[in-house]
Amino acid sequence: MIGDYFRLAVDSIRHRQLRSWLTILGIVIGISLVVTMISLGEGMKGAVSQQLSRFGPDTLVVFPGKEANLFSGFFGGLHLEDDDVDVVKNTKGVDIAFPVLIKTIRIEFGDKDKQTLLHGLPSKESEKFLKDFQGWELADGRWFRDKSNEIVIGFKLAKEGFKEDDKGKEIRLNQKVEIDGEKFTVVGIIASLGEREHDFAGYISLDKLRDIIGSSEKEVTNIDIKAAPGVDPNEVAERIKKNLKRSRDAEDFAVLTSERMGNIAGNIIAVIEVVLLGLAVIALVVGGIGIMNTMYTGVLERTKEIGVMKAIGARNRDIGLIFLMEAGIIGLVGGSIGLAIGVSIAKIVEFIAHQNGLSLLSAYINIWLILFGLGFSFVIGCIAGILPAMQASKLKPVDALRYE
């Protein structure tokens, strides 16, 4: 019987093709947004947690600026100094601590050049820290030495950094690049980390970078730290905070454990997700109202038909069910198409992200997301259909028959 009502509902939807498709479109937009959002949101979370899992749990970073407002630290000219590194190194529970200086500098190769994030690092500590505790690997070659004109570059910078429309060349091991008029030999290429920032970066010794930018100050962008084994990183963070506060005479820095960083990233993603999902929900509500509108129009148009069906034995609930199904089917069709479009958009975004070096980001698609999308759209259709269906079912047969 339900199957028969389903057929009746489909017939009447097909009979009003243009209007049905326009109504379906409303749901398509909403559902495709929701699916894209969930798929990419989960994908982003996955990417962050993958990043963090490489980032050992006992690593910490000191940034200039307050934790609540890290960006002001980055852009507000605040920075740390070598003295701070010493303070951190001497804090109890710190295993490794070293300064990192990051500058955007033009690198030349052949007749091409490219603005690149250049990291200045002390050779020994950074090699141990990055390889042993951050999971970095060299695809080729070795790490740079202190005070030498040697550079290690990211995988993507080597492969694509100086290529344009198939012109230009890949950088190979032992080739030379020029930075501020000085020649550097490429001694190592880092295996891809799946994120743009590090895959397109270059790494040289801290002293060399300071020479190039000609700063006499002992400026440091941030301090990378590894807590000693068996020590609670949060405790170490507290101690570093206390010591730095004393030595700097101000709390103009932030000490973040990897857990904290994960939380911050998670919060940012959550905010983005909530905003986008909010938009998607608005789109869905609008779509639902569209269904309701179409159904009310349908009830009005088919008043006579309803009267006839009642005259030949349809009960109120039969009529209600037929209309409810019609609304549900409109929702479901919209949902299926929206799902397909949403998944496609997510896959395209994933593809573009991969093209641009963000290989960690993968669109999250599984059976639950699909079932959710379909079920949700069906439910929206049904909810939107309840009132019109009730109106249809309650029509008095004589009045409905008289309606022209």
Partner: protein
């Protein structure tokens, strides 16, 4: 107050009477009395529809329209009855009351000896589906469905399985001579063909009573007569009770019994009606 149980007229004096089954019955004339005595046993047992002082009042804002004013009527199984009267006299309202599409404002209607006012909405729908078949002036087929599906529709609401529905619908379309038009949509059929599909649909659940509201109103006279012949056949061959509303006296001629309605009242005096209206 008494009612002539042959013609349904109200009787003030008890001049003509007869007793049957320990009950007294009163009549308007010897003609009705004789008819009763001839058919009494049969007709008493086979009453399907009884109206007792039925009133129907429509309220439109402040206006009240009384469409049926205290009607009394008995219809027996197997009758072929026409309801005639001028436009707005309450013929359709009458038919809707018989067909359980509407309930009386006052008075009672018995269908198979059950007071329909006592039934719930879904029980009424069930009765409409099983015991009554409707045929309308505008055919009222569902445009999105083809002839076969239209005929199967009433069976869906009775929960019949698809095979049974199909078999019966094909049979019925054959009866009305439209087997070769099974898959045609109403748009693709002529008026007479549509009305025959509608009749097939009315027969779907094998009802006892067929109610037709101006079934020939939208048809030319020869098509109209062929549709009427289908109804006559149903009455003769299958013993269906058939009630046809019409204001066409030629169509009314098919009926064995005529009921005239004037301004919501049944004009009981047949002799009087014969002389002055037609």
């Amino acid at each position: 107050m008494f009612i002539d149980s042959v013609c349904g007229m109200e009787i003030k004096n008890k001049k003509f009477h007869s007793s049957h089954d320990k009950r007294n019955y009163y009549f308007c004339s010897t003609k009705c009395k004789l008819k009763f005595e001839k058919e009494s046993v049969r007709s008493r047992e086979k009453v399907v529809i009884e109206f007792y002082n039925v009133w129907k009042v429509y309220e439109l804002g402040n206006a009240r329209i009384t469409a049926v004013k205290g009607a009394n009527l008995e219809i027996s199984k197997g009758e072929f009855l026409s309801i005639q009267g001028p436009s707005g006299s309450g013929k359709s309202t009458f038919l809707h009351l018989i067909g359980c599409l509407d309930l009386p404002t006052k008075g009672s209607i018995f269908l198979d000896r059950k007071d329909i006012s006592m039934l719930s909405e879904s029980e009424l729908a069930q009765i409409r589906g099983r015991k009554i078949g409707f045929v309308f002036q505008q055919f009222n087929l569902i445009n999105t469905l083809n002839a076969l599906e239209n005929v199967m529709l009433p069976m869906i609401f009775q929960g019949k399985v698809i095979e049974e529905r199909r078999k019966r619908a094909v049979e019925l379309l054959d009866v009305v001579g439209l087997k070769d038009r099974m898959y045609h949509k109403p748009k693709e059929l002529s008026g007479g063909q549509m009305q025959r599909v509608a009749i097939a649909r009315a027969l779907a659940n094998d009802p006892d009573v067929i109610l037709a509201d101006e079934p020939t109103g939208n048809l030319d006279s020869s098509t109209g007569h062929s549709v009427m012949n289908v109804l006559v056949n149903l009455n003769k061959k299958f013993g269906k009770t058939i009630i046809v509303v019409t204001h066409d006296p030629y169509i009314a001629k098919y009926a064995k019994r005529k009921v005239n309605i004037l301004d919501g009242q049944i004009a009981h005096d047949h002799q009087f009606m014969k002389r002055f209206i037609w």
